[in-house]
Protein backbone atom coordinates (compact mmCIF):
# COMPACT_ATOMS: atom_id res chain seq x y z
CA UNK A 1 0.00 0.00 0.00
CA UNK A 2 2.59 2.53 1.12
CA UNK A 3 6.30 2.19 0.47
CA UNK A 4 8.82 4.65 1.79
CA UNK A 5 12.41 4.42 0.61
CA UNK A 6 15.32 6.47 1.92
CA UNK A 7 13.16 9.41 2.79
CA UNK A 8 15.00 12.42 4.20
CA UNK A 9 13.44 15.72 5.24
CA UNK A 10 14.66 19.02 6.57
CA UNK A 11 13.39 22.06 8.41
CA UNK A 12 15.64 24.78 7.12
CA UNK A 13 19.13 23.50 7.93
CA UNK A 14 18.01 20.88 10.43
CA UNK A 15 17.54 17.37 9.10
CA UNK A 16 14.58 15.70 10.78
CA UNK A 17 14.31 12.48 8.75
CA UNK A 18 17.33 10.45 7.72
CA UNK A 19 16.80 7.93 4.95
CA UNK A 20 13.72 6.33 6.40
CA UNK A 21 12.61 3.13 4.74
CA UNK A 22 9.40 1.37 5.73
CA UNK A 23 6.35 -0.41 4.35
CA UNK A 24 2.70 -0.36 5.26
CA UNK A 25 0.98 -3.34 3.67
CA UNK A 26 -2.65 -3.02 2.59
CA UNK A 27 -5.17 -3.74 5.33
CA UNK A 28 -2.69 -3.49 8.18
CA UNK A 29 -2.46 -1.03 11.02
CA UNK A 30 1.13 0.08 11.51
CA UNK A 31 2.33 2.37 14.28
CA UNK A 32 5.26 4.70 14.50
CA UNK A 33 6.66 4.77 18.02
CA UNK A 34 9.24 7.22 19.25
CA UNK A 35 9.98 10.16 21.46
CA UNK A 36 8.68 13.62 20.73
CA UNK A 37 10.77 15.23 18.06
CA UNK A 38 11.86 11.93 16.54
CA UNK A 39 10.36 12.95 13.20
CA UNK A 40 7.12 10.95 13.21
CA UNK A 41 4.82 13.85 12.43
CA UNK A 42 7.11 15.03 9.66
CA UNK A 43 6.97 11.56 8.16
CA UNK A 44 3.18 11.72 7.97
CA UNK A 45 3.35 15.20 6.49
CA UNK A 46 5.73 13.93 3.81
CA UNK A 47 3.29 11.18 2.91
CA UNK A 48 0.46 13.73 2.76
CA UNK A 49 2.52 15.99 0.53
CA UNK A 50 2.61 18.88 2.98
CA UNK A 51 6.33 18.99 3.57
CA UNK A 52 8.34 20.68 0.89
CA UNK A 53 11.89 20.02 1.94
CA UNK A 54 12.27 16.29 1.32
CA UNK A 55 14.16 13.78 -0.73
CA UNK A 56 13.49 10.08 -1.30
CA UNK A 57 10.71 7.89 -2.56
CA UNK A 58 7.12 7.68 -1.37
CA UNK A 59 5.07 5.09 -3.22
CA UNK A 60 1.36 4.57 -2.88
CA UNK A 61 -0.58 1.74 -4.52
CA UNK A 62 2.45 1.03 -6.63
CA UNK A 63 2.80 4.58 -7.99
CA UNK A 64 5.28 7.34 -7.13
CA UNK A 65 3.70 10.16 -5.17
CA UNK A 66 6.64 12.51 -5.77
CA UNK A 67 5.40 15.90 -6.91
CA UNK A 68 1.72 15.06 -6.42
CA UNK A 69 0.03 17.95 -4.56
CA UNK A 70 -1.72 17.25 -1.27
CA UNK A 71 -5.24 17.64 -2.62
CA UNK A 72 -4.60 14.97 -5.29
CA UNK A 73 -3.18 12.63 -2.68
CA UNK A 74 -6.38 13.14 -0.70
CA UNK A 75 -8.43 12.40 -3.79
CA UNK A 76 -6.37 9.23 -4.28
CA UNK A 77 -7.53 8.04 -0.88
CA UNK A 78 -5.00 9.25 1.66
CA UNK A 79 -6.70 10.72 4.72
CA UNK A 80 -4.94 12.77 7.37
CA UNK A 81 -5.91 13.22 11.00
CA UNK A 82 -3.45 15.81 12.30
CA UNK A 83 -2.11 15.78 15.83
CA UNK A 84 -4.31 18.69 16.87
CA UNK A 85 -7.28 16.93 15.20
CA UNK A 86 -7.67 19.74 12.71
CA UNK A 87 -11.23 20.70 13.53
CA UNK A 88 -12.31 23.98 11.91
CA UNK A 89 -13.61 26.39 14.47
CA UNK A 90 -15.37 28.47 11.86
CA UNK A 91 -17.30 25.46 10.54
CA UNK A 92 -20.12 23.60 12.23
CA UNK A 93 -19.74 19.92 12.99
CA UNK A 94 -21.70 19.04 9.89
CA UNK A 95 -19.74 21.45 7.72
CA UNK A 96 -16.55 19.92 9.08
CA UNK A 97 -17.83 16.58 7.86
CA UNK A 98 -19.09 17.69 4.47
CA UNK A 99 -16.37 20.17 3.51
CA UNK A 100 -13.89 17.63 2.11
CA UNK A 101 -14.64 16.16 -1.26
CA UNK A 102 -15.91 12.58 -0.94
CA UNK A 103 -15.61 9.84 -3.51
CA UNK A 104 -14.99 6.17 -4.18
CA UNK A 105 -16.72 3.09 -2.88
CA UNK A 106 -15.14 3.47 0.55
CA UNK A 107 -16.82 6.79 1.20
CA UNK A 108 -19.22 6.76 4.11
CA UNK A 109 -22.48 8.55 3.49
CA UNK A 110 -23.37 11.14 6.11
CA UNK A 111 -26.17 8.94 7.42
CA UNK A 112 -23.72 6.18 8.16
CA UNK A 113 -21.36 8.60 9.91
CA UNK A 114 -24.23 9.75 12.13
CA UNK A 115 -25.25 6.17 12.79
CA UNK A 116 -21.74 5.30 13.91
CA UNK A 117 -21.25 8.54 15.86
CA UNK A 118 -24.64 9.59 17.23
CA UNK A 119 -23.04 12.36 19.30
CA UNK A 120 -21.95 14.11 16.10
CA UNK A 121 -25.49 14.07 14.79
CA UNK A 122 -26.75 15.49 18.06
CA UNK A 123 -24.26 18.38 17.85
CA UNK A 124 -24.17 18.83 14.11
CA UNK A 125 -25.06 22.54 14.33
CA UNK A 126 -22.37 23.33 16.90
CA UNK A 127 -19.12 24.99 15.89
CA UNK A 128 -16.55 22.24 15.48
CA UNK A 129 -14.35 23.31 18.35
CA UNK A 130 -17.23 23.36 20.84
CA UNK A 131 -16.97 19.58 21.01
CA UNK A 132 -14.99 17.86 23.74
CA UNK A 133 -11.53 16.49 22.95
CA UNK A 134 -12.81 12.97 22.43
CA UNK A 135 -15.68 14.14 20.26
CA UNK A 136 -13.29 16.20 18.18
CA UNK A 137 -11.14 13.13 17.67
CA UNK A 138 -14.19 11.20 16.51
CA UNK A 139 -15.13 14.03 14.20
CA UNK A 140 -11.64 14.04 12.70
CA UNK A 141 -11.78 10.30 12.10
CA UNK A 142 -15.35 10.41 10.81
CA UNK A 143 -14.39 13.18 8.42
CA UNK A 144 -11.68 11.17 6.68
CA UNK A 145 -13.87 8.10 6.61
CA UNK A 146 -16.57 10.07 4.86
CA UNK A 147 -14.07 11.03 2.15
CA UNK A 148 -13.54 7.37 1.37
CA UNK A 149 -9.91 7.31 2.46
CA UNK A 150 -8.13 3.99 1.97
CA UNK A 151 -5.01 4.93 3.88
CA UNK A 152 -5.44 6.77 7.17
CA UNK A 153 -2.57 8.80 8.61
CA UNK A 154 -3.43 9.27 12.28
CA UNK A 155 -1.22 11.49 14.40
CA UNK A 156 -1.61 10.50 18.07
CA UNK A 157 -5.36 10.09 18.18
CA UNK A 158 -5.36 9.08 21.85
CA UNK A 159 -3.29 11.95 23.18
CA UNK A 160 -4.91 13.58 26.16
CA UNK A 161 -7.98 11.37 26.15
CA UNK A 162 -9.45 9.50 29.12
CA UNK A 163 -9.05 5.67 29.17
CA UNK A 164 -12.71 5.28 28.27
CA UNK A 165 -12.30 7.45 25.17
CA UNK A 166 -9.04 5.73 24.28
CA UNK A 167 -11.00 2.49 24.27
CA UNK A 168 -13.59 4.02 21.95
CA UNK A 169 -10.95 5.25 19.55
CA UNK A 170 -9.48 1.74 19.61
CA UNK A 171 -12.76 0.17 18.60
CA UNK A 172 -13.22 2.72 15.85
CA UNK A 173 -9.77 1.94 14.46
CA UNK A 174 -10.42 -1.77 14.61
CA UNK A 175 -13.74 -1.29 12.84
CA UNK A 176 -12.03 0.83 10.23
CA UNK A 177 -9.46 -1.90 9.69
CA UNK A 178 -12.20 -4.46 9.24
CA UNK A 179 -13.52 -2.37 6.38
CA UNK A 180 -10.17 -2.83 4.67
CA UNK A 181 -8.74 0.60 5.43
CA UNK A 182 -5.00 0.73 5.99
CA UNK A 183 -3.77 2.84 8.92
CA UNK A 184 -0.42 4.45 9.68
CA UNK A 185 -0.63 5.54 13.29
CA UNK A 186 1.62 7.61 15.50
CA UNK A 187 1.26 6.37 19.04
CA UNK A 188 3.09 6.83 22.33
CA UNK A 189 0.74 4.54 24.27
CA UNK A 190 2.37 1.14 23.74
CA UNK A 191 -0.41 -0.81 25.32
CA UNK A 192 -2.98 0.86 23.10
CA UNK A 193 -0.75 0.36 20.09
CA UNK A 194 -0.64 -3.40 20.60
CA UNK A 195 -4.43 -3.59 20.82
CA UNK A 196 -4.98 -2.05 17.39
CA UNK A 197 -1.81 -2.48 15.38
CA UNK A 198 -0.16 -5.31 13.51
CA UNK A 199 3.34 -3.93 13.41
CA UNK A 200 5.40 -1.14 14.93
CA UNK A 201 8.34 0.92 13.74
CA UNK A 202 10.56 2.44 16.36
CA UNK A 203 11.76 5.86 15.25
CA UNK A 204 14.67 7.73 16.84
CA UNK A 205 16.40 10.87 15.67
CA UNK A 206 14.87 10.66 12.26
CA UNK A 207 15.77 7.02 11.61
CA UNK A 208 13.90 3.73 11.79
CA UNK A 209 15.85 1.90 14.48
CA UNK A 210 13.69 -1.18 14.85
CA UNK A 211 10.67 -2.97 13.49
CA UNK A 212 8.63 -5.03 15.93
CA UNK A 213 5.51 -7.13 16.00
CA UNK A 214 3.02 -7.19 18.89
CA UNK A 215 4.65 -10.07 20.74
CA UNK A 216 8.04 -8.40 20.60
CA UNK A 217 6.55 -5.18 21.92
CA UNK A 218 5.03 -7.04 24.84
CA UNK A 219 8.24 -8.90 25.56
CA UNK A 220 10.39 -5.78 25.48
CA UNK A 221 7.81 -3.46 27.02
CA UNK A 222 9.98 -2.24 29.90
CA UNK A 223 12.93 -1.60 27.68
CA UNK A 224 10.78 0.30 25.18
CA UNK A 225 9.03 2.34 27.86
CA UNK A 226 12.38 3.36 29.25
CA UNK A 227 13.47 4.21 25.78
CA UNK A 228 10.43 6.40 25.22
CA UNK A 229 11.12 8.08 28.54
CA UNK A 230 7.90 7.00 30.24
Amino acid sequence: MLQIRELSAWYGEAQVLREVTLDVPAGEVVTLVGRNGAGKTTLLRCVMGLHRHQRGYVGYLGGDLGGTPAHRRAAAGIGWVPDDRGIYASLTVEENLTMPRAGGENAWPLSRVYEAFPVLKERRRFPGTRLSGGEQQMLALARVLRTGARLLLCDEPTEGLSPLLVGQIGSILRAVKEHGVTVLLIEQNLHFATTVADRHYLIAEGRVVDSLDNSEVKRREHELLAYLGM
Binding site: T42, G49, H71, W80, E95
Partner: protein
Protein backbone atom coordinates in the same frame (compact mmCIF):
# COMPACT_ATOMS: atom_id res chain seq x y z
CA UNK B 1 -28.01 61.88 23.99
CA UNK B 2 -28.82 62.75 20.39
CA UNK B 3 -25.28 64.03 20.10
CA UNK B 4 -23.88 60.74 21.36
CA UNK B 5 -26.03 58.75 18.95
CA UNK B 6 -24.98 61.07 16.13
CA UNK B 7 -21.34 60.50 16.90
CA UNK B 8 -21.89 56.77 16.93
CA UNK B 9 -23.50 57.12 13.55
CA UNK B 10 -20.47 59.06 12.26
CA UNK B 11 -18.31 56.27 13.53
CA UNK B 12 -20.39 53.67 11.74
CA UNK B 13 -19.93 55.56 8.46
CA UNK B 14 -16.15 55.63 8.94
CA UNK B 15 -16.30 52.05 10.08
CA UNK B 16 -18.16 51.06 6.92
CA UNK B 17 -15.01 51.70 4.89
CA UNK B 18 -12.75 50.02 7.42
CA UNK B 19 -15.00 46.98 7.51
CA UNK B 20 -15.19 46.56 3.73
CA UNK B 21 -11.44 46.88 3.38
CA UNK B 22 -10.62 44.72 6.39
CA UNK B 23 -13.00 42.03 5.16
CA UNK B 24 -11.22 41.67 1.82
CA UNK B 25 -7.82 41.93 3.39
CA UNK B 26 -8.68 39.29 5.93
CA UNK B 27 -10.02 36.78 3.44
CA UNK B 28 -6.93 37.24 1.26
CA UNK B 29 -4.66 36.98 4.26
CA UNK B 30 -6.34 33.85 5.51
CA UNK B 31 -5.98 32.05 2.24
CA UNK B 32 -2.60 33.24 1.04
CA UNK B 33 -0.94 34.04 4.33
CA UNK B 34 -0.05 37.30 2.62
CA UNK B 35 -0.67 40.75 4.02
CA UNK B 36 -1.79 42.41 0.83
CA UNK B 37 -0.11 45.80 0.81
CA UNK B 38 -1.74 46.61 -2.49
CA UNK B 39 -5.17 46.66 -0.86
CA UNK B 40 -5.06 50.41 -0.28
CA UNK B 41 -4.08 50.89 -3.91
CA UNK B 42 -7.13 48.84 -4.99
CA UNK B 43 -9.31 51.14 -2.90
CA UNK B 44 -7.68 54.15 -4.54
CA UNK B 45 -8.16 52.60 -8.00
CA UNK B 46 -11.84 52.06 -7.16
CA UNK B 47 -12.30 55.77 -6.50
CA UNK B 48 -10.29 56.74 -9.57
CA UNK B 49 -12.25 54.23 -11.65
CA UNK B 50 -15.46 56.02 -10.73
CA UNK B 51 -13.83 59.38 -11.46
CA UNK B 52 -12.48 58.34 -14.85
CA UNK B 53 -15.80 56.78 -15.88
CA UNK B 54 -17.63 59.96 -14.93
CA UNK B 55 -15.28 62.48 -16.52
CA UNK B 56 -14.25 60.55 -19.63
CA UNK B 57 -17.41 58.61 -20.43
CA UNK B 58 -20.16 60.33 -18.46
CA UNK B 59 -20.94 57.11 -16.60
CA UNK B 60 -22.94 57.97 -13.49
CA UNK B 61 -22.29 56.91 -9.92
CA UNK B 62 -24.75 54.01 -9.92
CA UNK B 63 -23.27 52.33 -12.94
CA UNK B 64 -19.79 52.91 -11.61
CA UNK B 65 -20.84 51.30 -8.35
CA UNK B 66 -21.70 48.15 -10.28
CA UNK B 67 -18.94 48.18 -12.88
CA UNK B 68 -15.84 49.31 -11.01
CA UNK B 69 -15.79 46.57 -8.34
CA UNK B 70 -16.16 43.96 -11.09
CA UNK B 71 -13.31 45.53 -13.04
CA UNK B 72 -11.17 45.60 -9.89
CA UNK B 73 -11.99 41.93 -9.23
CA UNK B 74 -10.83 41.01 -12.73
CA UNK B 75 -7.74 43.14 -12.25
CA UNK B 76 -7.07 41.41 -8.93
CA UNK B 77 -7.38 37.98 -10.57
CA UNK B 78 -4.94 38.96 -13.31
CA UNK B 79 -2.49 40.34 -10.78
CA UNK B 80 -2.72 37.16 -8.75
CA UNK B 81 -2.17 34.93 -11.78
CA UNK B 82 0.63 37.05 -13.21
CA UNK B 83 2.65 37.77 -10.08
CA UNK B 84 1.47 36.67 -6.67
CA UNK B 85 0.81 33.10 -7.73
CA UNK B 86 4.43 32.68 -8.80
CA UNK B 87 5.72 33.42 -5.34
CA UNK B 88 3.10 31.37 -3.50
CA UNK B 89 5.52 28.49 -2.94
CA UNK B 90 8.06 30.71 -1.21
CA UNK B 91 8.00 32.28 2.21
CA UNK B 92 4.99 34.67 2.47
CA UNK B 93 7.48 37.47 3.07
CA UNK B 94 8.28 37.46 -0.64
CA UNK B 95 4.69 38.15 -1.57
CA UNK B 96 4.49 40.63 1.23
CA UNK B 97 7.28 42.64 -0.45
CA UNK B 98 5.83 42.04 -3.90
CA UNK B 99 2.48 43.57 -2.97
CA UNK B 100 4.33 46.46 -1.34
CA UNK B 101 6.01 47.08 -4.70
CA UNK B 102 2.74 46.71 -6.59
CA UNK B 103 1.16 49.31 -4.31
CA UNK B 104 3.97 51.78 -5.03
CA UNK B 105 3.81 51.17 -8.76
CA UNK B 106 0.03 51.61 -8.93
CA UNK B 107 0.21 54.69 -6.75
CA UNK B 108 2.91 56.28 -8.89
CA UNK B 109 1.21 55.39 -12.17
CA UNK B 110 -1.91 57.19 -11.05
CA UNK B 111 0.21 60.06 -9.75
CA UNK B 112 1.90 60.35 -13.10
CA UNK B 113 -1.39 60.52 -14.91
CA UNK B 114 -3.47 62.61 -12.53
CA UNK B 115 -1.05 64.37 -10.20
CA UNK B 116 -1.35 64.43 -6.44
CA UNK B 117 -4.14 66.93 -5.89
CA UNK B 118 -7.58 65.54 -5.34
CA UNK B 119 -10.08 65.07 -8.12
CA UNK B 120 -13.68 66.25 -7.94
CA UNK B 121 -16.48 63.71 -7.67
CA UNK B 122 -19.97 64.94 -6.78
CA UNK B 123 -22.36 62.87 -4.71
CA UNK B 124 -25.25 61.47 -6.79
CA UNK B 125 -28.02 64.07 -7.00
CA UNK B 126 -30.62 61.64 -5.60
CA UNK B 127 -28.73 61.49 -2.31
CA UNK B 128 -27.41 65.02 -2.04
CA UNK B 129 -29.85 66.09 0.66
CA UNK B 130 -30.22 65.40 4.37
CA UNK B 131 -32.31 62.46 5.52
CA UNK B 132 -34.37 62.66 8.70
CA UNK B 133 -33.32 59.83 10.99
CA UNK B 134 -35.76 60.71 13.77
CA UNK B 135 -33.29 62.04 16.30
CA UNK B 136 -31.34 64.08 13.78
CA UNK B 137 -30.79 64.83 10.11
CA UNK B 138 -27.90 63.23 8.35
CA UNK B 139 -26.40 63.66 4.86
CA UNK B 140 -28.25 61.31 2.55
CA UNK B 141 -25.15 60.03 0.86
CA UNK B 142 -23.52 59.02 4.10
CA UNK B 143 -26.64 57.13 5.13
CA UNK B 144 -26.45 55.35 1.81
CA UNK B 145 -22.78 54.49 2.34
CA UNK B 146 -23.59 52.91 5.67
CA UNK B 147 -26.51 50.96 4.21
CA UNK B 148 -24.53 49.83 1.17
CA UNK B 149 -21.60 48.72 3.26
CA UNK B 150 -23.82 46.89 5.71
CA UNK B 151 -25.59 45.21 2.79
CA UNK B 152 -22.26 44.20 1.25
CA UNK B 153 -21.02 42.80 4.56
CA UNK B 154 -24.31 40.92 4.98
CA UNK B 155 -24.07 39.53 1.44
CA UNK B 156 -20.53 38.38 2.06
CA UNK B 157 -21.64 36.89 5.35
CA UNK B 158 -24.42 35.00 3.59
CA UNK B 159 -22.08 33.79 0.90
CA UNK B 160 -19.58 32.60 3.47
CA UNK B 161 -21.96 30.99 5.92
CA UNK B 162 -24.79 29.63 3.85
CA UNK B 163 -23.17 28.26 0.72
CA UNK B 164 -20.81 25.48 -0.22
CA UNK B 165 -18.39 28.09 -1.55
CA UNK B 166 -18.43 29.73 1.85
CA UNK B 167 -17.68 26.49 3.68
CA UNK B 168 -14.64 25.87 1.52
CA UNK B 169 -13.41 29.46 1.74
CA UNK B 170 -13.81 29.51 5.50
CA UNK B 171 -11.96 26.22 5.79
CA UNK B 172 -9.19 27.36 3.47
CA UNK B 173 -8.96 30.69 5.27
CA UNK B 174 -8.73 29.08 8.68
CA UNK B 175 -6.32 26.23 7.89
CA UNK B 176 -5.09 26.32 4.29
CA UNK B 177 -2.74 23.37 4.69
CA UNK B 178 -5.23 21.08 6.36
CA UNK B 179 -7.78 21.98 3.73
CA UNK B 180 -5.41 20.89 0.99
CA UNK B 181 -4.85 17.64 2.85
CA UNK B 182 -8.62 17.15 2.85
CA UNK B 183 -8.73 17.21 -0.92
CA UNK B 184 -9.44 20.85 -1.75
CA UNK B 185 -7.22 22.47 -4.35
CA UNK B 186 -6.74 25.63 -2.31
CA UNK B 187 -4.43 27.06 -4.97
CA UNK B 188 -7.30 27.15 -7.48
CA UNK B 189 -9.44 29.10 -5.00
CA UNK B 190 -6.78 31.66 -4.32
CA UNK B 191 -7.21 33.58 -7.58
CA UNK B 192 -10.95 34.20 -7.32
CA UNK B 193 -10.66 34.97 -3.61
CA UNK B 194 -7.92 37.51 -4.30
CA UNK B 195 -10.07 39.02 -7.02
CA UNK B 196 -13.05 39.09 -4.68
CA UNK B 197 -11.05 40.93 -2.04
CA UNK B 198 -9.85 43.40 -4.64
CA UNK B 199 -13.45 43.89 -5.77
CA UNK B 200 -14.53 44.70 -2.21
CA UNK B 201 -11.73 47.26 -1.97
CA UNK B 202 -12.92 48.69 -5.29
CA UNK B 203 -16.45 48.93 -3.92
CA UNK B 204 -15.17 50.83 -0.90
CA UNK B 205 -13.26 53.11 -3.26
CA UNK B 206 -16.32 53.96 -5.35
CA UNK B 207 -18.31 54.62 -2.19
CA UNK B 208 -15.53 56.90 -0.94
CA UNK B 209 -15.27 59.00 -4.10
CA UNK B 210 -18.19 61.39 -3.40
CA UNK B 211 -17.30 62.05 0.24
CA UNK B 212 -13.54 61.80 0.43
CA UNK B 213 -10.53 63.26 -1.32
CA UNK B 214 -9.86 61.26 -4.49
CA UNK B 215 -6.09 61.26 -4.87
CA UNK B 216 -3.32 58.70 -5.39
CA UNK B 217 -2.42 58.64 -1.71
CA UNK B 218 -5.93 58.10 -0.34
CA UNK B 219 -5.40 54.36 -0.01
CA UNK B 220 -1.96 54.55 1.54
CA UNK B 221 -3.33 56.89 4.21
CA UNK B 222 -6.21 54.63 5.11
CA UNK B 223 -4.60 51.20 4.84
CA UNK B 224 -2.51 51.70 7.98
CA UNK B 225 -5.66 51.86 10.04
CA UNK B 226 -7.13 48.92 8.15
CA UNK B 227 -4.13 46.73 8.98
CA UNK B 228 -4.56 47.59 12.62
CA UNK B 229 -8.26 46.74 12.35
CA UNK B 230 -7.46 43.35 10.86
CA UNK B 231 -4.97 42.61 13.63
CA UNK B 232 -7.52 43.63 16.26
CA UNK B 233 -10.30 41.58 14.70
CA UNK B 234 -8.11 38.54 14.31
CA UNK B 235 -6.16 37.65 11.22
CA UNK B 236 -8.24 35.71 8.79
CA UNK B 237 -11.36 36.11 10.92
CA UNK B 238 -14.21 37.34 8.80
CA UNK B 239 -16.56 38.28 11.62
CA UNK B 240 -13.66 39.85 13.47
CA UNK B 241 -12.81 42.15 10.57
CA UNK B 242 -16.34 43.46 10.26
CA UNK B 243 -16.91 43.88 13.99
CA UNK B 244 -13.49 45.50 14.51
CA UNK B 245 -14.02 47.74 11.47
CA UNK B 246 -17.29 49.20 12.70
CA UNK B 247 -16.08 49.13 16.31
CA UNK B 248 -12.92 51.10 15.60
CA UNK B 249 -14.94 53.56 13.54
CA UNK B 250 -17.30 54.24 16.45
CA UNK B 251 -14.52 54.29 19.05
CA UNK B 252 -12.54 56.83 17.02
CA UNK B 253 -15.59 59.04 16.48
CA UNK B 254 -16.38 59.09 20.21
CA UNK B 255 -12.74 59.68 20.97
CA UNK B 256 -12.82 62.65 18.59
CA UNK B 257 -15.60 64.09 20.70
CA UNK B 258 -14.24 63.51 24.19
CA UNK B 259 -10.45 63.10 23.88
CA UNK B 260 -9.50 64.49 20.45
CA UNK B 261 -5.78 64.25 21.10
CA UNK B 262 -5.98 60.48 21.46
CA UNK B 263 -8.16 59.70 18.46
CA UNK B 264 -5.29 59.29 16.02
CA UNK B 265 -3.45 56.79 18.15
CA UNK B 266 -6.50 55.05 19.55
CA UNK B 267 -6.55 52.30 16.96
CA UNK B 268 -2.90 51.49 17.59
CA UNK B 269 -3.39 51.53 21.33
CA UNK B 270 -6.16 48.99 20.78
CA UNK B 271 -3.90 46.98 18.52
CA UNK B 272 -1.08 46.89 21.05
CA UNK B 273 -3.47 45.91 23.82
CA UNK B 274 -5.01 43.15 21.75
CA UNK B 275 -1.61 41.82 20.73
CA UNK B 276 -0.57 41.64 24.36
CA UNK B 277 -3.79 40.21 25.66
CA UNK B 278 -4.95 38.01 22.77
CA UNK B 279 -2.18 37.80 20.20
CA UNK B 280 -4.49 36.11 17.71
CA UNK B 281 -6.95 39.02 17.80
CA UNK B 282 -10.40 39.33 19.33
CA UNK B 283 -11.97 36.76 17.05
CA UNK B 284 -8.85 34.96 15.91
CA UNK B 285 -7.63 31.58 16.98
CA UNK B 286 -4.17 30.50 17.91
CA UNK B 287 -2.96 28.26 15.20
CA UNK B 288 -0.49 25.46 15.65
CA UNK B 289 1.65 25.70 12.56
CA UNK B 290 4.46 23.22 12.24
Amino acid sequence: MANFVQQCFNGLVSGAFLALLALGLSVIFGMLGVVNFAHGAFYMLGAFGAYVLLTNAGVNFWLALAAVPVALAVFGCLLERAFIHRLAALDPLYNFLLTFGIALVLQDLVKREYGVTSRPYPPPAELNHPIDLGLFNYPGYQVFVLAASAAACAAVWYLLTRTRVGVVVRAATERPELTRALGINVGAWVTPVFGFGAGLAGLAGVLAAPMRAVNPLMGADLIITVFAVVVIGGLGSIVGSVVAGFGIGVATALCNLYVPALSQTLVFVFMAAVLLWRPAGLFGREEARV
